[in-house]
Structure formats: structure tokens, C-alpha cells
Symmetry: C2
Subunit: 448 residues, 2 copies
Amino acid sequence: MSNADAAKSPYPWRMDDLVSLCARRGFIFPSSEIYGGINGFWDYGPLGVELKNNLKALWWQRVVRERDDVEGLDSSIICHPRTWEASGHVEHFSDPMVDCRACKKRFRADQLDDAGPCPAREGTSEHDFTEVRRFNLMLKTFIGASEDAAAVAYLRAETCQSIFTDFRRVKDTSRQKIPFGIAQIGKAFRNEINPRNFTFRSREFEQAELEFFIHPSEREKWFAHWLDERQRFHRELGFTADRLRIRAHAPDELAHYAKAAADIEFLFPFGWQEIEGVHDRGDWDLRRHTEYSGKDLSVTDEETKERFTPMVIETSVGIDRTALALLVHGYEEQTLPDGETRTLLRLHPALAPIKVAVLPLSKKLAEPAQKLALELRRRFTTFYDESGNIGRRYRRQDEVGTPFCVTYDFESGTDGKVTVRERDAMAQDRISLEGVQAYLRDRLEVVL
Amino acid sequence: MSNADAAKSPYPWRMDDLVSLCARRGFIFPSSEIYGGINGFWDYGPLGVELKNNLKALWWQRVVRERDDVEGLDSSIICHPRTWEASGHVEHFSDPMVDCRACKKRFRADQLDDAGPCPAREGTSEHDFTEVRRFNLMLKTFIGASEDAAAVAYLRAETCQSIFTDFRRVKDTSRQKIPFGIAQIGKAFRNEINPRNFTFRSREFEQAELEFFIHPSEREKWFAHWLDERQRFHRELGFTADRLRIRAHAPDELAHYAKAAADIEFLFPFGWQEIEGVHDRGDWDLRRHTEYSGKDLSVTDEETKERFTPMVIETSVGIDRTALALLVHGYEEQTLPDGETRTLLRLHPALAPIKVAVLPLSKKLAEPAQKLALELRRRFTTFYDESGNIGRRYRRQDEVGTPFCVTYDFESGTDGKVTVRERDAMAQDRISLEGVQAYLRDRLEVVL
């Protein structure tokens, strides 16, 4: 983040506070922390994995399960290396890079603003850069028993290429006809020279991609459809209009094969950044894989008998980036009317890692409260907490986004009722014990 | 599979028939098929990904969400390379390997039965083997901008190591006390010399692992608890007692640090094979990571003030192997009373990729039938099929394990009823259109 961006941060809190909350409460922390971490790799803790899984489940529900024109796929991370020759990644997927001859550090040539002064050239405060070279971002490995060139393989740099290589197999087995799509969620890897902005730019990340195959005459219609659908999805997550925008690519930004492209951007503390791309990829990918594999990937229109290579509209969303956007959007340091402050994470209830916390007012009430927690846990992710004063226990749930707290008090045993407190308005409802399941179901299962 | 095993196959069908069904109907097929495949890597198609996701969701539900003493985790596939020095993988995770000097093929020294005759030494029918060497099974890659040794990293060979390195962070953030567990589902990679038996032994695979941290005095109790729990899980999947067995490791099979270990084995067409391992790993892992990181991973008993390094009971199940076992267990070529045959996949309804198929008796009934499919699709994975005779459409659903078919016929418009056909018994119920949702929900949501 440049200083100019930091100054303009639209949020009245520091990014470091959110990063610290994520580590302290077990959302996200550095991979291999006890070994000093590994740059660009992150682990999702107990709350982070639930948030991410809920987000992935919602995407799968909306994009795959609720539609009759989209099929799912789960392909291997390592695939045949010819895939990456056909896709152009072996030749072109690189960043421009320079080294400093003095301090031996490496920088992206297009990000030299972030280089800082060279520690080995005191007094000049400038680096001694080499010429710009290209640096391929794919992670390489070796399959089989030797490290010779024949066995080189790559960790996929994007999940979509397998969708193209599996296109015919999926189309034939699912008996779909154009227009239809293939969707996949999975890990991808890029050897970023300079990972940064928490999980935003990391070396291992998760994508949710849809490739929608269409007749060439329908490109504009389907591009508009999917751009609209994907905006709707992000609005459904709770992102408000002031923090979400569409940035259409100018003609000179487009890849040579693309007819149109737009980024869906979210307003992070470090500026407007892409969380999803919607691209008209044309027939580039299927044509390239046809050329490299010798396999025909064209289709025949059953009515007109026209034979054509389908065009592709792609929607590609970063799961880690969207999860980060959810944390940023939900994070709030709130001053209450009584002067107290609380940290709040306003997550959509369907995405919240913990759905309900069960809190006995005293440890003496542990037994019936635990019984309630046990019942709720079969259906909802339920947290049980009996220690500390009730206000503090509410605050602990507020800062991890738990939408409902159920308090079991000294009256509950006699009147058969508990108090349900809602996170955002802090409003309290007194409801019957038997009614808790239904009360929560009505409020939590709206989306899924 | 050796000839001896094949002869003993307990199944009245050939493994090839199941492999062929998987490709033909889009469960599982070779990765990068159009490039000739890549040995040991598989893609899950539209039906396969649903089966696998359902299986993972059930494991997560039973092991993490329904328990208050297990926390989830989702760590990076690439972690700090010191992890694999501490775990012993860099030094010891290898297979014995020989090369044939004549035909240049490579074999596992412990599997020379499968070597076949050497094509380059006709007349002798024997190979000319080199001495046995050790071959490390971890896949290596390079992080950062150079391929020098400092940047070497590995694709994880098992998901559990991050559970150990993240142990303190997860314990502190979740405020759990011993005994408690950390669970994770994710990809792991092993450079198998000889991938085989369809997806059973592949180079990229998915594990669901639980590491349960306990006081040393409770090893036997918790080992028994988890062995029991995990058997119960496999029985819940529908595996019958004749195809599931426990094989306790003999003392001389145990790793030097292990006190007890047992495999849960399933009867595949290629013999009894491990689908899950339950292991008492002692304090080996936490001690090694303490030694290599210099970080204290011991805990204090709050009551006795005793300080100790927890012992670990591990349950580790192969998701791909269990998915394959589900396909094997469910597959049946059935002769019906009328002499007709049908292929059947008896999958547990909660695991079936498609929950319900909506079939109009005639294309003239497409409109109301599609309306019903649209409604059902919001809650259940729903397939709509209007082409071909109804018997053939039933068969197509039977062979992919769809538990219910709903037929909309010429009466439905007037009496407001449809026919629901159950897969296994082929029994038919006539029920009202408004009742279909509830009918299916009662029969499909038993488990989850």
C-alpha cells in the first residue's frame, strides 16, 4: 500500500487491527508460524475455515446447484504440462523483475515505488538495479522418479484450464447443449515476487470459476447476464453499493482474443481492488487446446447443423479475496450510547462461522445450557461459553460475527424461556426453549 | 492387482465395468484426457464432485460441527520446508526402487511381482535390475524467484503436519483444553512410483484427518473411542460388515513412536485395502516440532499444574478411497424378475450426487414438470430429463444412484399428484404436488 492510498483509506480503523483480530481469534494467520512463516502462504483457523466454507457453499449453490445449465467439476491441481503450453502460460505468464546489485533484493519492475531505500548503498538511498527480466509465475515440480525435463509439471496457475481440457467429456456425460457452463472451486498457485496486503495477493489461493460456453452470436447477451448475476451475488453477501464497483476494461487493456472484460472491485483499506473478473474469452482457449491436442472441441447445432467452436464467458472470483472483503466490510469499532466500545463483525448470518452461542448466566446453569447447546449443534455451528461476565461474553461473540446469543438464566428453569440477543441491534427476544430451533432456522436459512 | 487377487474378487462384475461407468457418466476420468492423461491424476466430473463434496460435508458434520471438542483448520498445501525436516519426511519418506538396465523402466522393489516380462530381453523373460535405491515421495517445488536450494519447498505429503505446527495457535484462539482435536480436509501429494487401482493409489489425493490431543494417561481410552467412532462412520455410509474390517497392526509393524495402530479396510475387487488409519502417534510430532522450531508446544493441566506434551490419536481417512469404496459397494448389475437387467448404484441418499430426477411422461408435459424441477432445485440437487422412454430414463438414474424419480404424467394436471419411484425397491408412491418437498426432505435429510 503506498502512502497515498493509506491516507485515503475510507475506513476509520487500521488494517493492522483487522489482521490482529484474525490471528487472535483464529480466522487467518501465517502458515508455519512457529518456523517464522513462509511469505505468501496463509492458514485458515477454526473460524476462518467455516467462513470460507460457507462462502464456497453459497457460490456452489447459486452457480451450480440452482441452475440446470451449469455442471460442476473438481480437477487435479497438477495436470498434463501441455495444458500450460496451449494456454500460453509457459511462454507468457510472467512478471517483469529487476534485482538490486547492491542489496541482492528482487523487485517487480512495475512496482518500484515500493522498493524502499537500498540498505547497502547508504547515503545514496537508491538501488542499483539490473535490467528488467521476465520471471515465470508458475510453480514447477517433477513427476515420476527423476528431475529431468520430461517429468516437469506445474501447479495450476488458474483452475479454468482443466474446464477447457475436460469440456468435451463433461458435455457428453452431462448431455448438456450450448449454452451451458462448467464451474469449479479449487486451489491455484502463483509464484508472486512480492506477496502483500494480507491474504489479498498470496502465492497459494482459492478460485471459484465458471466457464460458460455459448454460440458466437450471443456474446453480448451472456456477458451482460453474467456480469449482472455476479454483481447480484456480491450484493447478496452484504456488500453495499459504496464499496463495490464495476470497472470495465478499456479496449487497450483487453487481451488480444477478448471482446469485453470487467472487474468487480471492492474498496479495501488499501484501495479499490479486483475481487472478481468477468471476461469474454472468445474461442481462444478451446481453439488452442484443439491445436495442441489434435482433438476436435467444436460442437454442432442440432437444429441448424452449423458446426462451431463455442465462445466462452468466464466469471472468476477469488475466494480468499472475497473472504477478506467480508471481514473488511463487516469490521467496525463501535461506540455505544453508554460510552462503551465494542468491536463488531457484521457478517451475513449465512456466512458467519458461529451461528449461535449458548451462554448460561452462571456456571450453576451449565447442565441445562449444555443440553440446549447439544441440541442446537446438530443443525447450527454452536459455541458454548460459561466463563466470564455476560457482557464480555457478548463482546467476544460480536467481534467474530456470531449473529445470535442465547442466554440461559435463573428464570429459564421455571418459565421454560431463554433470551435471544441479536448481534447488530443488540435487541433481545424472550422465547420458549422449544421455539429456539425454529426461531434460528427462520433467521439463518434465508439464503442457503 | 495380482492374478491371485483377481481370481478371488468377491464381486460378480469386473472393475473395468465400474471404471467405464465412472467415465461414461461423469464421475471420475483421467486428468488431461485430451493430452493422453497424466499417470496418477484424476478429475471428478459433475457427478463425482457432488459425491465427494457430500462425503466431505458428512465427515465435517460428524467430526467437527457436532462436537464441541474438535476445531477445524484449512492450512496451505505449501508450508515452511522445516516442517518436513521435523516430521522426518525429508530423511525417511521414501520407497525402495529399482531400474531395469535393459528396458529402462522403474519399479518398486517391494512390488516386483507386478513387473511383467522385460520387453528388451526377449527369450529370458526376466529383468536386469539395478540395486535397490531409496526414492523420496515428496513433490518438490521452488518458491521465490530462483531455483536455488534455499527456495526449495514441498507439496504436503499429508495434511496433518500443519495441525501440529498450528497446534498452539488453534488451542489459544479456540480456548480449548486437553483433550481436544483439530481436523482438516485437504489435498496431499505423493510421487508414487507406480500409481494403480484406479483412484486408489494416486499421486494427488484428498485426506480428512483428525489429530486428537490428550493426556498421556488416556491413550487407550481415546484410541478405543476414535476407532469406534470411525467404524460407526463407515457403517453409516452404508458399508456392510462383510466388506469392512479392522486390522490391528502387529507390534513389529508399528512406527517406533506409536503405541497402537489399526487400519479400517474395505473389500475392493483388488482385495482388502486400507481406507482409514487410526493411530496412536504418541508425542512424537509435537516433540519434533518443538525441537526444530524452538517453540514450546507443551501444555499445563489447570487443576494439577502438571506440564506435559500432549499425546495424539490420529484418524486419517482417504476421501478418494472412500468415494471409490462407495462406488464399489453400491455397484450392482441386477437381473429383474421380468428378465430385464439394470445397473444400479446403491448410494446412501445423503451421498447421492443427484437427489431427485423429474421426468415428464411426455414432452407435452414439459412446462409443469420444469416448474416442479425448478422448485425442487432450490433445496435438492435435481435433474430434469424429458427425452426417451420412461423405463430408459429410470435406468439412467439407477446407474448413477439417484434415490428418487418423480414422474409427471397426464393425470397430474387434473389430480394434482405425481408418482415418486424409489431406486432400490422400485416401489412407487402417488403423492400430491405440494407434498413432494416434504416427502423428499423426510427421506433425504436423515443424515445431514
